[in-house]
Symmetry: C3
Subunit: 345 residues, 3 copies
């Protein structure tokens, strides 16, 4: 069961081109996404009301979604717009979904389309504004999306899963603190007077800082329901204020994570990094994307094996340590929202 | 559930060579086919009565099927013929099937072998006679064979699935007519005064006709239970009688489709094309086979996705439009025959 | 259901190196194996008590098994030894297994570790002693391990599955005899005054014997519960005593087979060959291992197809012929031991 009356990321904008629909299962429902004549994205069930063909195998003609089997044309409202030589006004409708494109992502309202509330759409626009550079991608992972929430709200694992890039022993040594910030779960950890790990040495160098310098490092994970996690990460020359240090002695960025349930046991993981230094260096953007791709690939194997273990032993209780407090708080919020929706009918 | 007391195509003749058995599941039963010393094809369950080994992994010795595990020799009657150092007269029998080779195909009676009725074996021999050339192949498809019946009894889909070869907009515009011809379901469509699509331009050219000429085009689909569909297709110079035009102004052929259930959700698709022009041009036969292979490959993806959709939403009612009337009539006939068999015991 | 209070082979010694754990499912339980600082092998459930991660994806540090997710360190007793910044004394334990390394194999007690009885560990050490050479490998096979017992206790199949290497028609002709030798099931067959098949011709040649000579051949299969099968095989110049012939007129070896259930429908097959001639010829060891690898690969396909057939028809009774008597006796012993364990609680 998933939160319904909320916005999930369904796709990156550039995954939906103008001449081909995109089929994607979200919260157990196979959906098809396409751009209409004005370039606006629409989404309906990926099920042709005629004979059940997958509309996502069809085509786009003049901004209309056309079934690839018999030419039924689907409206953005889930009603058949037309079909060659047929009266279609009594055709059954398929579910339509409210979708909204913003800042490079396609957002998807998982509940009834009529109840979609644009005011609830989160603002992450900074990463497309002047002064920022962004690169990212998407993974399909065979695990419950909540295992990824646990993963991202507890960066202790960097030390083990990502030991050669961003891990370092001081992560284990620095205490982690979890707190609520309104409806946001925040988990933060600060390391002072340390050497930077390889990834941050690269970032320092790219800003003209001495990679061997002693630094302060931060990790600030911010979770918002249903499953958006923004993580401030970075280093600054020691004693200059850390996260609040002036730009010229600091190398920081924001790890952007949008998690979307595909089925109960699988998910879409939209990941990326936004940085506010060297924003015009496209080669650096590519290099960071590639590095981040490699780092997150390491998580995949761990999470999919964890999922198999939990399916094999569904009744085992997991531990809830201080380092797990962020994930625990996030799950508690998800459970509360699902319960509220269930009670509301 | 499938019609039992009927003939299905099990294989193309050249799939069963003299020195190797062929394992193939039909109507949910794994069977093994082989040629005896006289070259006659036999079929029994693919299950060695000794220890359950797959006989299809065995060998043929002097026309006898030999289990590859311990050398049991199986008779064509499903009784063990012999086994080294063993008395086999009390070995349990396995099911034998009545099979008949005719015109390049192995026909398989799905019911009790003793009830096999050769008089019910359909006659499709014309395509191996003088004056005809034939080429074809077989696909394994993960869909209910009835989805393929729908597909073939409604060629409207040519326009969408096969837009670059045989599709053209006039297909949608021409009315389709479905009628019964005795026990045969016929669905036909005639297009007059049109330009030929790419596949038929090629056929016209290969007969010395001007590919740019205005033509009349026909599609006549003939379904016979349980699942044989012959389709007359072609073009003739406009106004010369269409399907009945004289050979010199006409390019026509018969699409041969034998559908055989493998399991409830999968099938064997034997497809081919018989033509009565340029019958000695082996290179043309190859070219048409390759083209048809490519065209039918496009159907596979559509049908397998449709199957997945229908399994996900088993209770959804599909539409039954005029273009679906052929498939609907064919399914009605199948249901009637299954009901009759069930009632007969 | 499997015999629990018994030793299975879990791995070959060289599968467990000093710097990486090995994950392996045995009797339906995913386990992780590693070497401690002294090089001694330990095994616990492959399930981190913290969040269920697979410990086998972790690392070895100074002989300690470290979870690759958050750095939990697992003790050999199934208790968490430590975890960065955590008190771990109240962490739940995972199951530990008793393991013992001997003669190139890791032995695994499938029952409660505290009840492990080293006196029950079978002695197969001769193959690592002076005067013997050994080569082998491991296969993962998708079949009930008992199908492999049947296979190995009835070498009649050599004639069919392995016709080009060790099969010969005299195998079928020689009577097989099955008898109990204490708790051991013995199936034996003797062929006299025959020509050697290709594999044994090679062995004779490598010992300076004439490969065309008339020989006596033997196959003596010895099964011990739960699933260890040693097979004496070889040839000797005819009339010199066969199995008991003096070394200089004899080419013999022992086929070593340790079968370990992975799940109810899959298994690990540890196979090898020990010989007491030309023991210093490493190239010969490699050649025999490669030949044996190829021979046993032929069995895989047969057994996996048999498994599928038996799953499709679970109620069919299989035949129990004289050639099956070894497998039947072995299964009877297994059933008796499982029954005794069940009754003992």
């Amino acid at each position: 069961m998933h939160i319904k009356n909320t916005w999930y990321v369904a796709a990156m904008s550039d995954e939906i081109c103008s001449d081909k629909p995109l089929g994607r299962t979200i919260c157990n429902s196979p959906m098809v996404f396409w751009r209409n004549k004005q370039g606006k994205v629409a989404a309906v069930e990926d099920f042709c009301p005629h004979r059940g063909a997958a509309m996502s195998l069809g085509t786009i003609d003049d901004g209309e979604l056309v079934c690839g089997y018999h030419g039924l044309r689907m409206g953005e409202d889930g009603k058949t717009a037309s079909m060659p030589k047929q009266r279609t006004d009594r055709f059954p409708c398929v579910k339509r979904a409210a979708v909204e494109e913003r800042d490079g992502f396609i957002w998807y309202w998982a509940g009834d389309a009529d109840s979609a509330d644009l005011s609830l759409l989160p603002e992450f626009g900074w990463h497309t504004q002047n002064g920022w550079a962004y690169g990212g991608g998407v993974f399909e992972i065979k695990c419950d999306y909540r295992l990824m929430i646990d993963n991202l709200m507890d960066l202790t694992h960097e030390n083990y899963v990502h030991s050669s890039s961003i891990g370092q022993k001081e992560i284990d040594e620095a205490p982690v603190r979890t707190r609520m910030n309104g409806d946001q779960v925040v988990t933060e950890r600060y390391m002072t007077d340390i050497k930077a790990p390889p990834f941050w040495r690269m970032a320092m160098e790219s800003q003209g800082l001495d990679p061997d310098a002693i630094v302060d490092r931060w990790q600030i994970c911010r979770f918002n329901a249903p499953s958006h996690i923004m993580i401030d990460v970075g280093v600054a020359l020691a004693g200059q204020g850390g996260f609040d240090a002036p730009p010229e002695v600091r190398a920081g960025s924001v790890v952007v994570d949008f998690l979307t349930p595909q089925t109960d046991g699988s998910m879409w993981y939209f990941w990326g990094m936004a940085r506010n230094f060297k924003v015009d260096d496209a080669e650096l953007t590519d290099r960071i994307r590639e590095g981040q791709h490699n780092i997150f690939s390491e998580d995949l194997e761990v999470l999919e094996a964890q999922q198999r273990n939990l399916e094999l032993y569904p009744d085992r209780q997991l531990l809830k340590l201080d380092i797990d407090a962020g994930g625990v708080a996030a799950r508690r919020m998800i459970d509360k929202l699902i319960k509220a929706e269930t009670e509301a009918g």
